[in-house]
């Protein structure tokens, strides 16, 4: 069983190939604006490193957001076209759950992504990674009120968010994420789509 993991939801590319509980090739690199240019060349490198043909993959796990709208679409497009082409199973994980699962701390996990204008994308997971608050686009001050009832929690974020406790840096534990998700229900590639958690500005104005 070989699984390709792709996360382009931030300005980092996180990707890896996991074979029988071993990560045989991985990349964690900051790209920012050049993510659209560099994601496929870097994925091609992974296959070279692992000495695999692009078709020798049995499953794809892709991060579907929240995060950078353009970033999420890059990973999702690659992943759904890939899975559709090879007719292999595909499943999605949120960026927030990937962040929580990668933490080994023995407490409640609060992963967070800056959504600008005082808002964040966040979710709350208990120490066993069970969901307490589903992914949400929320005002930071409102989130802080929710967190008052939680005794011990950590904040995980790579963004500059002013919150107590000071956020822990996030580096994905790809093997742990993949192991968590490898038996999750597959989705038809046609219906693998981003979860933005936020309408476009035009829709917000139009609806109000």
């Amino acid at each position: 069983m070989r699984i390709l993991y792709i996360d382009t939801s931030s300005n980092y590319l996180y990707a890896g190939i996991v074979e029988d509980d071993k990560c045989i090739a991985e990349i964690k690199e900051k790209f920012g604006q050049s993510l659209s240019e560099m994601t496929l060349p870097r994925i091609a490198n992974l296959f070279e490193q692992a000495k695999l043909n692009p078709k020798e993959i049995n499953k794809i796990i892709v991060v579907n957001g929240p995060g950078s709208f353009t970033g999420i679409r890059i990973g999702i497009t690659i992943a759904k076209v890939y899975a559709w082409s090879l007719k292999i199973p595909i499943t999605t994980i949120t960026s927030l759950e990937a962040m929580a699962i990668s933490s080994d701390s023995d407490c409640v996990h609060v992963p967070m992504i800056d959504a600008r204008r005082g808002y964040v994308y966040t979710a709350i997971y208990d120490k066993n990674y069970q969901i307490l608050l589903s992914p949400i686009h929320i005002k930071l001050t409102d989130l802080e009120n929710k967190l008052k009832t939680i005794e011990k929690f950590e904040v995980i974020s790579n963004d500059f968010i002013s919150i107590e406790p000071f956020p822990q840096k996030y580096t994905p534990n790809i093997i742990k994420i993949v192991n968590f998700y490898k038996n999750k229900k597959d989705i038809n590639p046609h219906f693998v789509n981003p979860e933005y958690l936020k309408l476009t500005e035009a829709e917000e104005k139009h609806d109000s």
């Binding site: 240019e37 679409r73 890939y82 476009t200």
Partner: protein
Amino acid sequence: MKDMYILGIESSCDETSISIVKNGREEIATIISSQIDIHKDYGGVVPEIASRQHVKNITFVLEECLNKANMTMDDIDAIAITYGPGLIGSLLIGLEAAKTLSFIYNKPLIPVHHIAGHIYANSLVNELQFPLLAVVVSGGHTELIEMDEHYKFTKLGGTLDDAIGECYDKVARVIGLEYPGGPKIDKLAKIGKPTYKLPIPLHDDSYNFSFSGLKSAVINLVHNEKQRGNEIRKEDLATSFQKTAVESITSKTKKAIIDRKIKNVIIAGGVAANSGLREAMTKLTTELGVNLSIPSMKYCTDNGAMIAAAGYYAYKNGRIADLSLNSKSQDTLK
């Protein structure tokens, strides 16, 4: 020589389209998923909404296209992709899909400029004859391009501000027509009379165009008439506007044909569907005794077939990209 089947992917604006074209001339299958109904509510294309739709559509369009052609990806020889210009978020969906297919199936990736696509839409109807003048008229472009041979482009001139199609849509909005207003103006123009006086834009010796002045003139005219309590005769305004806009294109085209000793003229882009422009260009080229090629209506709007057709000639010209190909919102046709 072996036949070459190219898969063309186009997602530069609000249409997700994929086609398969044989040897740059013969359309095998085309699927177009248009978002016009979605953007109509907003009076124009909303880039973020367009990007969101493309990612939803992409594999459906790909699957339908291959099914329609009764082919698989293994039957495809190369993948042609619109890398620009266009809406960057929209372009990226097609680009990543094309790169992924190129990677998995180890097929050449051919970068195609959107305007080259519009020009080569003609190749699906008639074989291109050189030297030719391409009159590119669309929502994003108004350009005169000269070609001495396949896939060699020399820009003679272009718009200094708004594109002609953009001007049509804005004028349509001012006189209360729903987006996309261009075709609606064309329809009204057939029944009206050119009674409103509008200035002919950039009436000079260059090959350039300007449409923002014409747009402002229409806005001012409508405003002034309202102030005077006069009802706007929409069909007459449409006729007046269309006559002026089309004259601007034909006068510069005429100059280019004579100066550059052009023998073949093609019209390319969405505004090539405009009946007023088609008639005026037919009249002009007949008068000057040069050939005119106009793409059939279905190839005037954005589609994957024109990208695949252009891709064939780009490939013959050695234009092949690697997986680091990126989208460009702006780029000069070279």
